[in-house]
């Protein structure tokens, strides 16, 4: 099943083109890495898919509908680039942050409250943060905060998860366990994942497909084919944050 379909999508900020003629399909179960240099339009692409930005040209479909008219937003999990740039003095507990995504409750209040808390705690368990529910989120490390934001994105049981540069400022050890967790969610839970990064090396072990973006979509295909492609060779020759990983 196609979850995301883009046909001829273009977008410009104040007349400066950022995305040009993008054709992209993301299928259920994909673990897609969107890579490209700074300013290549990666974040803009995700915002267009989510309906946060309107394309100047082309067609976008999310679960078969234009993103703006998608009523069940719980099918989407999103962790924006600046998620961890939160106000450290914001008085929110970890449970409150994860529960923010559960916006609509139609059940009686007490039952809804119990069910909400159960879902929040389960989402925290999935990301290994089950013991931190009552901690103020501002007191956690960057890596722990990132896990909390993933839990918030997972609490609605989404079908697709968008992560924008999720490991920026996170130490190498935490990054490894973080990507192992994404691997597990993709392979065991069948979660479709779209991961934006400018570091192709770190994702080599995990993703099933790669989209290489630099305003235009320079490459979209399986990871194995990507490693044999001219685009990959060009990136190697430029030294674009490449780390050799065995697939």
């Amino acid at each position: 099943m196609d979850i995301v379909v883009l046909r001829g999508v273009s977008f410009a900020y104040d007349g400066t083109p950022v995305l040009v003629g993008i054709d992209l399909t993301i299928k259920e179960g994909d673990f897609l890495a969107v890579i490209g240099p700074n300013g290549s339009g990666k974040t803009t692409l995700v915002k267009v898919i989510l309906g946060l930005l309107q394309p100047a040209e082309g067609k976008v479909e999310l679960f078969g509908k234009p993103p703006g008219s998608l009523s069940d937003r719980g099918r989407i999990g999103y962790v924006p680039q600046k998620a961890t740039h939160i106000d450290p003095y914001f008085p929110a507990s970890v449970e409150e942050v994860v529960g923010m995504a559960l916006l609509s409750e139609s059940r009686p209040r007490a039952a809804a409250g119990r069910e909400r808390r159960g879902r929040v705690l389960r989402a925290l368990e999935v990301v290994g943060m089950g013991e931190f529910g009552r901690w103020p989120v501002g007191r956690l490390s960057g890596g722990q905060q990132q896990r909390v934001f993933i839990a918030r994105a997972l609490v609605t049981s989404p079908k697709i998860l968008f992560l924008d540069e999720p490991t920026t400022g996170v130490d190498a050890e935490t990054q490894t366990s973080f990507y192992d967790m994404l691997d597990r969610l993709n392979r065991q839970e069948g979660l479709t994942i779209v991961l934006i990064t400018h570091d192709i090396g770190i994702v080599n072990k995990h993703v099933t497909s790669v989209a290489c973006l630099n305003q235009r979509l320079a490459y979209h295909g399986t990871h194995a084919e990507f490693c044999r492609s001219d685009v990959f060779r060009d990136m190697v020759s430029r030294g674009d944050h490449l780390i050799a990983h065995e697939h």
Binding site: L50, S71, R73, Y78, P91, A101, W135
Partner: protein
């Protein structure tokens, strides 16, 4: 009979004051965390123009102030969006204009008198019975609307982009928050006064933020400070014949100072708040 009426009237005024205090405390938390703490101050100045307009046109000043403040709140939001103004520039423009228009109208109506002073500095004994009823109804309405939108307001305040992606209509909520603040400021001005009512938005919420480890506990602490200050300030005003607005603000500040000192006394450590 008169004493009984006065007693019942005061009870209703106290109740109105408590409801306004709760609304101010909750709205204040959202506004401070959005870095919009001075909006209350600006809207109070704008409400002054409404009061002067009411006195000029000889209509109930509270109603005129509500209309002007709500209209200005919406205008501020539009100006921010369309003119691309930075931060609180729009509120700065409108608050100055509000004060200027208020002074002009009051001058034209020759109404720089005791009634205007009651609005500037607050006078709970000058509240008309109809104003008490209006205040009770509108303050309750503000609290109900906040409760219904609480989860969305919290999500938007904490992480605007994720809230948008989750389907929260942040632009509408921005305007709603401004309108609710405008209504609350106008309702509070007869108790705390135009010049001091903004303190009820800022200080209790700032005090609550000193001790809170969660948003829920921040709400509870802020409400406790606001209600205690309003009730205590009104009580002190009646007992000692001092201005209620000043007593309320001083009590708010004392609570803030106590919470701040208490926070400084505790070592900051990782762990549950």
């Amino acid at each position: 009979m008169h004493a009984l009426f006065a007693y019942g009237f005061l009870q209703r005024a106290f109740l109105a004051g408590v409801l306004i205090a709760v609304a101010c405390a909750v709205l204040g938390l959202f506004l401070i965390l959005r870095k919009d703490a001075m909006i209350g101050h600006g809207l109070a100045h704008i409400a002054f123009a409404g009061v002067a307009l009411g006195l000029f046109l000889n209509v109930l000043p509270l109603v005129a102030a509500l209309a002007v403040a709500v209209a200005a709140a919406i205008a501020v939001m539009r100006l921010k969006d369309r003119a691309g103004l930075h931060g609180d520039t729009a509120i700065g423009i409108f608050s100055s204009l509000g004060l200027a228009v208020g002074v002009l109208l009051a001058s034209l109506a020759r109404s720089f008198n005791v009634e205007l002073m009651a609005y500037l500095f607050g006078d709970i004994l000058a509240i008309e019975p109809i104003e008490v009823v209006l205040t009770l109804v509108l303050a309750a309405a503000v609290l109900i609307v906040v409760r219904l939108n609480y989860a969305k307001l919290l999500y938007m305040t904490f992480d605007r982009e994720s809230a948008r992606a989750a389907g929260v209509r942040v632009g509408r909520l921005d305007t709603l928050l401004m309108v609710l603040t405008a209504v609350t400021i106008v309702l509070g001005m007869k108790i705390a006064g135009i010049l001091l009512v903004a303190a009820l938005i800022v200080i209790p919420a700032a005090a609550g933020l000193q001790v809170a480890g969660s948003f829920r506990s921040a709400v509870r602490a802020s409400i406790a400070v606001a209600v205690a200050s309003v009730a205590g300030g009104l009580g002190l005003s009646l007992a000692l014949n001092i201005p209620a607005s000043a007593a309320i603000v001083v009590l708010c500040f004392l609570a803030f100072a106590a919470f701040s000192l208490g926070k400084r006394g505790r070592a900051i450590r990782p762990g549950p708040g």
